[in-house]
């Protein structure tokens, strides 16, 4: 609960801060907090990834880009009424919905009862103790392939956008 509240506070900070460096750092903090929350929730793999990605890659990327652009955010000229409205509506629907979800942490929620029983079969079928890995790489291996393709896509896309190609370079135009 403590962590979660801190998360909330950090978010407020992100919303309010105008200096983008501060925002970047705050979002890094946010990621670390998120990671610790995830650990509490027994999602160690996710926590590890969130830490490396959120606090690592994302922050590096943002800072790198900030280095190429400017670092202060201008005050928005137009009124923020519509966004506020959209946000509140979304919030209302979500609160309305989640407050009817099965209570936190109980063992007989649908996803545990009706959900797939990886825990029971992982060792027997794949011999892998870390069920997350076995599900990731085998049971739902296709999602992970897709995930890798996403990285591939993003990588090529960024190269395509940022890499300087002196047009008509011999090797490529041929």
């Amino acid at each position: 609960m403590m962590l979660l509240s801190m998360l909330a506070v950090t978010t407020v900070g992100v919303v309010r801060a105008r200096n983008l460096f501060a925002v970047a750092v705050l979002s890094g903090v946010y990621s670390f907090l998120m990671a610790s929350v995830l650990i509490v929730l027994d999602a160690v793999d996710v926590a590890m990834t969130e830490a490396t990605v959120g606090a690592g890659i994302s922050m590096v990327l943002v800072l790198g880009v900030l280095h190429l652009t400017k670092t202060d955010e201008a005050r928005p000229v137009h009124r923020a009424l519509l966004p506020l409205f959209v946000a509140t509506v979304t919030a209302a629907i979500l609160v309305w919905a989640v407050s009817a979800l099965p209570p936190f942490g109980i063992a007989d929620a649908p996803i545990h009862v009706a959900g797939p029983d990886y825990l029971a079969r992982s060792l027997a079928e794949t011999g892998i103790a870390n069920v997350v890995t076995s599900v990731l790489a085998s049971y739902r291996g296709f999602d992970t392939l897709g995930e890798t393709v996403v990285i591939f896509t993003a990588g090529i896309a960024v190269l395509m956008l940022l890499k300087r190609t002196p047009s008509g370079r011999g090797g490529e135009s041929s």
Partner: protein
Amino acid sequence: MKELVGNLAAHFNQWITVFLMVSGLYIVIARGNMIKKLIGLSLFQTSVYLLYISPGKILGGTAPILEDGVSVYANPLPHVLILTAIVVGVATLALGLALVVRINEAYGTIEEDEIFERDTRG
């Protein structure tokens, strides 16, 4: 009122989740600075992680890494999904930032209002 408090206790992390989501969404829509927008976007996506992970937790359980003497584990499936989601998120962020760099070079600014106004001026 009482059941509301009870509800709050039972769903505290979901309520926080909602708060994070919405504030992320708010940043995206309300702010004109393209980098800020992207950060808001990743906030928005990150908050979804909790929505998936929280229900997977079983009180008294441990991480889904099988070992002897432990019987209650958290549900691994949400973890897998979220791992994918994280990757998708960072991929989007990277691409978005690349675009921002190019836009900054083309327009000399990353404030949407200024960009539109420069375009209308041709």
